[in-house]
Symmetry: C2
Subunit: 405 residues, 2 copies
DNA sequence: TGATTTAATTTGAAATTCAAAAAAAATAAT
DNA sequence: ATTATTTTTTTTGAATTTCAAATTAAATCA
C-alpha cells in the first residue's frame, strides 16, 4: 500500500486544454482568443480549435461589439468570448441551524433568484434533511418561475467534516447520524448532480470565482460566524487536508492553558474571539447585572465603556496573533476576511491587521495583503453554487470528449 | 498582471509521462513495468515505450533476478526496473556557519563520499563563498578519487530566504550582501547545473526522496538546530509560500507578549525551545553561578534536578502547542521530526507528542502520525543532493524530448 | 506436452497540440 | 479609392503522445 499514492492522481487532475481555456474565460469574465493563448501558453491554433468546439456545444459565446469602434488600433479587432449564462442553471444551498439559504445562478454566476427557508429544528435525520433541502430549492424555483428540472447542478454546504470527493459526511451538526453517504441519499431526491463540501471551503471557492480571490492562485479566507473558519486555496485548488475537516483555525491555540472553548479544550482562538466568548466575559465582569447581547456590547465599546473596550481589545489582539501564525506557517499572497456580520468590525479593524503585520517575520518582501470582504448572508450559498459551477463545467467538458465527433 | 497567473504554469508543471515513470521508479526503488502502469494509470503499452527509451539512454536498467525463482506464481515473471546509479553523480552541499558539508551521491542516492570542511568565518562575500564551496567539493572529490568534472548536478542549501526557481538569494546569514543572484555567481565556478534552496525545504526533499516521507504525498518536516525550521510537502511538491522564505514555524507565536526572541519579537516558539532560550533560563535561575551548556542541562534534568526539568517541561509544552497549531491549520498525514542532535530528545518525547494530540481538534479520523527521524549531520547535505537529483532527472528527461528521435 | 496464467510488446488508430502559412478585418498612407 | 500595414483568427499538415486490442513471451500446473 502507499505505493500507488505517489502519482496516481496527478494525471486525472491535470487540466485538459479545454478546461484550461474554460477556466481562463471564467476568470477573466470576457477575453479574446489571443489573450487566452498568452494566458494559458496554449497556441492560438489550439485556442481557435477549442473555443470553436465550446461555442459549438453552447458553453461559451462571442460577444458582439455593441460599440462599433473601440480604442483606435490597427489590425483585425479581437473578439471577446464569454461564458454563456444560459448554458446551465446552478443551485447553491447552505444549510445552517435556523435556516436554509438557496441561490440559483446562471452559468456565468449571475443571480437568478435567492430564497431563505426557516428551519424548525437544526439537527435532523438524513432523509428529512434531504426533503427539506428539496423543499427549499422548490420554493426558490417557484419564486423565479422556473422548473426544478432545469437545474443542472447543485452545491450543498454545511458545517462539519466531510469528504467532498465522495460526497460523504463524517459528521455534521445538521445531521443526527455520523458517517452518512449523504450524496447517495440526496441523489435520490435531486434531479441533477450534487456536490457537497464544508462551508469554509465553499466560501473560499466563492472568493476564488466571484470575489476578491479572483485571479489569485494562493490565498486564505477567514470567516467568523459563531465559530472561526478558514479556507485555503493553494495553486488554484482548495487545500482540504487529509482528514477533510478543513483548517480548524478557530481551534488553534493562542494561550497555554487558556480560556475554555466550547470544544472542551483550552486556549483556542475561538474561546477569545467567538461571540459566546465575548459575552461570557462581559457577563462575568458585569457582576451578574443582566445579560447583554453582542450589539449592546459593541455599542458600549463605541460609547467609550472601558470594560467593553478592553474585552474587544484582547479579542483583537488574540485574533492578530492567530492570523500572524497562519502567515508565518503559510505565507499566503492574500488574506481575505470574509464576513456577513458587521458586528465583527472590531476584528477586521486596521489596528488588528497592523498588529498582525508586526508579528509576522520581517523580511524584504511585503507582508501579505489583507482584504475585508463584507458579503451578505448569501455568501455561503453562493459558495456552494460556485463549487457546483466548477464541477458542472468540468463534467460538461469531460462529456464533450466522450461523445460524438 | 494577475491575469496570466491563474493557469499559465500548470502546463509547465504537469509531469510528462516520462517524468511520472521516472519518479515512480525512484520512489519505489525497484518496480516492474506492470506496477508502474497501475501506479501511474498509464497504459502498459506506454510504459513499455517509455521505459525502453529510458533504458536506451541509460537512466534506468532492468534488474536481473539473482534468485532464479521468487514466490511461486504462474505467468510470465515480472522484471523489475531501477534507477541506474552510475547514470549521474550528484553533489549536495550545506553551508552553515562553522562548516561546509558535502556529499556526493550516485543517481540512485547511494553515498559515494562525504566530507566536512571547517569555516573560519560564517559570513563572507559572494565570491569567497563560491570559491569556498568549490574547494569543499574539490576536497570531497579528491577523497573519493573522482574528477569534479564528472558531477552532473549540485544542490546547495543554506539558511535564509531565497527563490529556488531563480537561484536567487534575498538574504542569507552566510552572505554579507543582500539580493544576490547567487546561482549566476556560483555557475561561473561550477562545471555543472546548480540548484539552490532554503535548508528547511531541502530536508523536506530528503525525507521525501530518501527518508520517512517516501511515498507520502503530503507531510510536514520539523527540524530543530539553532532555530526551529519547517518544510512542507503538499501533493508531492515542496510548498514554498509566496515570499520564498519557507515556513517560519520557529516564529509562530505561542504566547502573547511572551519571551524575547532573537528576531526581536516576543512570544515566538523559538524563544521557548531554542537552545539559547533554554540556556538563558538556566543561567538566570542558576543565580549567575557559572554558565552551563546544554549537555549539562540535559544531564541535570535526567538526574532529577527540578529546576532543569521544569525548563524542559515548559519547552516541551510550548513545542506541543506549536505542533498542534500546525496540525489544526494543515492537517497533514504525517509529521516528521527530523534532527541531528540527540540533545533535543526532550522535544521529541512521547509525552510531547501525546500532548500535541490532545490539543488537536478531535474527530473520528486518526490524528496525524508522528515519526522521529534521527539522521546524522549529513541530513542537510543529503537534502541538497536530493533536490539536485530531482532536478537533474527532470533536465535529462527534457533533453530527451528535445534531441533526436 | 499442452493448458493456463501473467507480463511485456507490437501495431494501428485516435487525440492533442503546434508551427507555418493563409485568410480576415481593421487602420494608415498614398 | 487603392494599397500597405498591422493584428487577430483560421486552416493545414505534421509531430507527439497515448491507448485499446492483439500478439508474443515466459513462467507454472496438470
Amino acid at each position: 500500500m502507499g505505493k500507488s499514492s505517489r502519482l496516481s492522481h496527478s494525471d486525472v487532475q491535470r487540466e485538459s486544454g479545454k478546461q484550461q481555456v474554460m477556466d481562463t474565460i471564467r476568470a477573466a469574465g470576457s477575453i479574446a482568443r489571443i489573450d487566452i493563448s498568452t494566458a494559458t501558453r496554449v497556441s492560438p491554433a489550439t485556442v481557435t480549435a477549442i473555443t470553436a468546439e465550446l461555442i459549438d456545444v453552447g458553453l461559451i459565446s462571442e460577444i458582439v461589439p455593441d460599440t462599433p469602434r473601440q480604442d483606435a488600433k490597427r489590425g483585425r479587432p479581437r473578439v471577446a468570448l464569454k461564458i454563456r449564462g444560459d448554458a446551465h442553471r446552478i443551485a447553491g444551498i447552505k444549510v445552517s441551524h435556523r435556516v436554509i439559504s438557496v441561490v440559483v445562478l446562471d452559468f456565468e454566476g449571475n443571480n437568478i433568484v435567492d430564497h431563505e427557508m426557516p428551519l424548525t429544528q437544526g439537527r435532523m435525520p438524513v432523509d428529512d434533511l434531504c426533503k427539506t433541502i428539496m423543499t427549499a430549492l422548490g420554493q426558490a424555483c417557484d419564486k423565479a418561475g422556473i422548473d426544478v428540472g432545469t437545474i443542472s447542478g447543485m452545491g450543498v454546504g454545511m458545517a462539519g467534516m466531510m469528504d467532498a470527493k465522495r460526497n460523504f459526511v463524517y459528521w455534521s451538526s445538521s445531521l443526527d447520524e455520523r458517517n452518512v453517504d449523504f450524496g447517495a441519499h440526496l441523489s435520490r431526491h435531486a434531479p441533477c448532480p450534487i456536490f457537497i463540501d464544508n462551508d469554509a471551503n465553499l466560501v473560499a471557492k466563492a472568493e476564488h470565482l466571484f470575489g476578491k480571490g479572483r485571479n489569485v492562485s494562493d490565498f486564505v479566507v477567514i470567516t467568523i460566524e459563531h465559530g472561526v473558519g478558514m479556507g485555503i486555496v493553494i495553486d488554484n485548488k482548495i487545500y482540504r487536508g487529509t482528514r477533510g475537516c478543513g483548517a480548524e483555525f478557530g481551534h488553534t491555540k493562542v494561550q497555554l492553558e487558556g480560556a475554555l472553548c466550547q470544544c472542551g479544550q483550552r486556549g483556542c482562538l475561538e474561546a477569545y474571539v467567538g461571540d459566546y466568548a465575548l459575552l461570557r466575559e462581559a457577563n462575568i465582569t458585569n457582576g451578574g447585572a443582566g445579560h447583554r447581547d453582542l450589539g449592546q456590547l459593541v455599542d458600549a465599546a463605541k460609547g467609550g465603556d472601558q470594560m467593553a473596550r478592553s474585552i474587544f481589545d484582547r479579542a483583537g489582539r488574540m485574533f492578530a496573533m492567530g492570523l500572524a501564525n497562519v502567515v508565518n506557517i503559510f505565507d499566503p499572497k492574500l488574506i481575505i476576511l470574509s464576513g456577513a456580520r458587521l458586528s465583527f468590525d472590531y476584528l477586521y479593524s486596521d489596528q488588528v491587521i497592523e498588529e498582525m503585520r508586526r508579528w509576522v517575520v520581517q523580511i524584504d518582501a511585503p507582508p501579505p495583503k489583507v482584504r475585508v470582504h463584507n458579503w451578505g448572508d448569501l455568501m455561503w450559498a453562493k459558495g456552494a453554487a460556485a463549487y457546483a459551477i466548477e464541477e458542472v463545467s468540468a463534467l460538461a467538458i469531460r462529456e464533450l470528449a466522450t461523445s460524438d465527433t
